[in-house]
Subunit: 260 residues, 2 copies
C-alpha cells in the first residue's frame, strides 16, 4: 500500500503518523510550502514536493487534507494518476473529484487535531464514502488499518455531522477560552475550572445533554443572569450569554420546539 | 458535628451524600416541599420539616442550598439559632446573612450536580469565605471533611468564577444539546460525537483553549461557515453560530483584544 499525502496541516500530520505507526507507507508528501512538506515527509520517511506536477503517478491512494477553500483548485491542477483519490473534509461533497479521476471518495476522521497533541487514532471514528462499491471497500480497508471505528456515511449526512462537530468541539472550545479570559482578569487559575470541564463532558457520555443541564439559565435565575450580563465587558460576549441563556430556558420549558 | 441542610435540590443532595459518606451527621433537612425534605432526610437518616420555624436551634452548621432568588427570603424567616450559617451559591455575597446571625459564610462547590449522577466529592474544588477568621476556619474544616480541594476565595472573585463556570459548563452543555439535535434530525447517533467531546475537554487540561482551537472559524473557511449557517433552521442558532465564529476569528487574528 503506497500513499501520497496532499497537505501538511493538523489532519495530514495526524494521518501520516497513524499510517506510519501501522506500517502503511507514505511515499510522498505535497505541500504548497516546501518546508512544511519536507518536515512532515521526513518524519515518516517519504519524499516531498511543492509542485503538483511532480506528484508520483503510481500510488494506491492520494489523500487530500487541505483547507476546504483550496481543495477544488488543487484537484483541478493534479496530474493524471492511478489509484484512489480521497479527501478528509466534513463539508465537501465527494463530487468535487468528478471529471478528474475515476475512483474517488472520502475518509473523514471526526476529531480535533492539533500538531502538538498525541492521539490514539484507533479510537477516532472515521466516516467513508466513495463513487463506487469497489472504491468504498478500498477506502474502508485503508481506514480500518488505522481506526477501529470505520463506517460509511453519505455526504449529505456527513455535512450535518461536521456541523454538529463545530458546535460540540470548536464552539465548546471557544467557550472554554471565554471562561479562561474571565478567570485571567481576576487572577484565578484556569485549573479551578478543570474538574468542572471534565465532568461536563463526562456527564453526556451517560445522560443526554438535555437531562444534564444545570445552572442559572435552566433554573431561570433572572437576577444571576442579569448580574452576569452586567459583569461582561464585550458586547458580543454579552449577546452570546443572552442568546444561550434564552435558548436553554426555552428548550426546558417548551420542549417540543426544535432549535437546530 | 451536626448539620442542618436547608434545601433539597441537586447541590443539597450531593452535599448530603458527601457528608453522610464521611460520617458527618445531617440532623435535619428543610425543604418548602415536604416530600422532597422527607426523601432526602430519609436517605441520610435525618429528621425533616417544611416549616422554617421548626428548624433545630442547636446544630453546628446551617447549610443553605436553595435557588439564589429564594435565599434572602428564607434567611429573613429563619428562627434564631446557634452555629454557623453558610450558603453554597456562586453569585450571592456573604453579606446576605448580615443582621440575621453572628457567624456566617460561604461553602461553594464548583461542579455540575445532577441527582442521578454519582460524583467523587473529594475531587471537587470548594471555595470558602466567612465574616470572621474563626468562622472561616470552621467552614474550611467542614469542607475539608468532604473535599481535598478547599480554598478561600472572596465573594468578588467567586462571582467571576461562577460566571466562568456558566460558560465552561452550562453553555458548553447547551452546545452539546444543539449538536445532539442536529444529529437527531439526520438520524445519526450522538455516540458518533462522543470521542470528539471527550478529546475537546481533555485537550484543555494540557493546552490553553486558545492554542487548542481548530475548525472552520479559526481557519476562516468562509464557504463552510456560510453553508453551515444556511443549514441551520432556528434564527437564534444561526445567530449563535455567527457570533461564536466571528469571535473565534477575531481572537486568533487580533490577539490583543480582550473579549470577556
Amino acid at each position: 500500500m503506497r500513499i501520497v499525502l496532499i497537505g501538511s496541516g493538523n489532519v495530514a500530520t495526524h494521518l501520516a503518523d497513524a499510517f506510519f505507526e501501522r506500517g502503511v507507507q507514505i511515499v510522498q508528501v505535497y505541500s504548497r510550502t516546501v518546508d512544511n512538506a519536507r518536515a512532515l515527509a521526513q518524519s515518516v520517511g517519504a519524499s516531498f514536493t511543492n509542485k503538483l506536477e511532480d506528484i508520483l503517478p503510481d500510488a494506491d491512494f492520494y489523500i487530500f487534507s487541505v483547507k476546504d477553500d483550496a481543495l477544488a483548485e488543487i484537484i483541478s491542477q493534479m496530474p493524471a494518476t492511478n489509484g484512489v483519490w480521497a479527501h478528509t473534509a466534513g463539508s465537501v461533497p465527494v463530487s468535487v473529484f468528478e471529471g478528474f479521476c475515476d475512483n474517488f471518495g472520502v475518509l473523514y476522521p471526526l476529531q480535533t487535531f492539533s500538531k502538538n497533541r498525541k492521539l490514539n487514532f484507533a479510537e477516532i471514528p472515521v466516516f467513508v464514502e466513495a463513487n463506487n462499491a469497489e472504491t468504498l471497500r478500498k477506502i474502508g480497508d485503508l481506514a480500518t488499518m488505522i481506526s477501529r471505528k470505520v463506517q460509511p456515511l453519505s455526504g449529505e449526512r456527513r455535512r450535518y455531522l461536521h456541523l454538529a462537530a463545530v458546535f460540540g468541539c470548536n464552539f465548546v472550545n471557544h467557550l472554554y477560552a471565554l471562561a479562561a479570559e474571565i478567570l485571567e482578569d481576576e487572577q484565578i487559575t484556569f485549573d479551578a475550572l478543570k474538574p468542572l470541564i471534565t465532568e461536563t463532558a463526562a456527564k453526556v457520555m451517560e445522560l443526554s445533554p438535555h437531562d444534564a443541564q444545570t445552572g442559572p439559565a435552566v433554573r431561570f435565575d433572572e437576577k444571576v443572569i442579569q448580574k452576569h450580563i452586567d459583569m461582561l465587558k464585550d458586547p458580543k460576549t454579552k449577546q452570546i450569554y443572552r442568546l444561550l441563556s434564552e435558548q436553554i430556558y426555552e428548550k426546558h420549558h417548551n420542549p417540543q420546539k426544535t432549535d437546530s
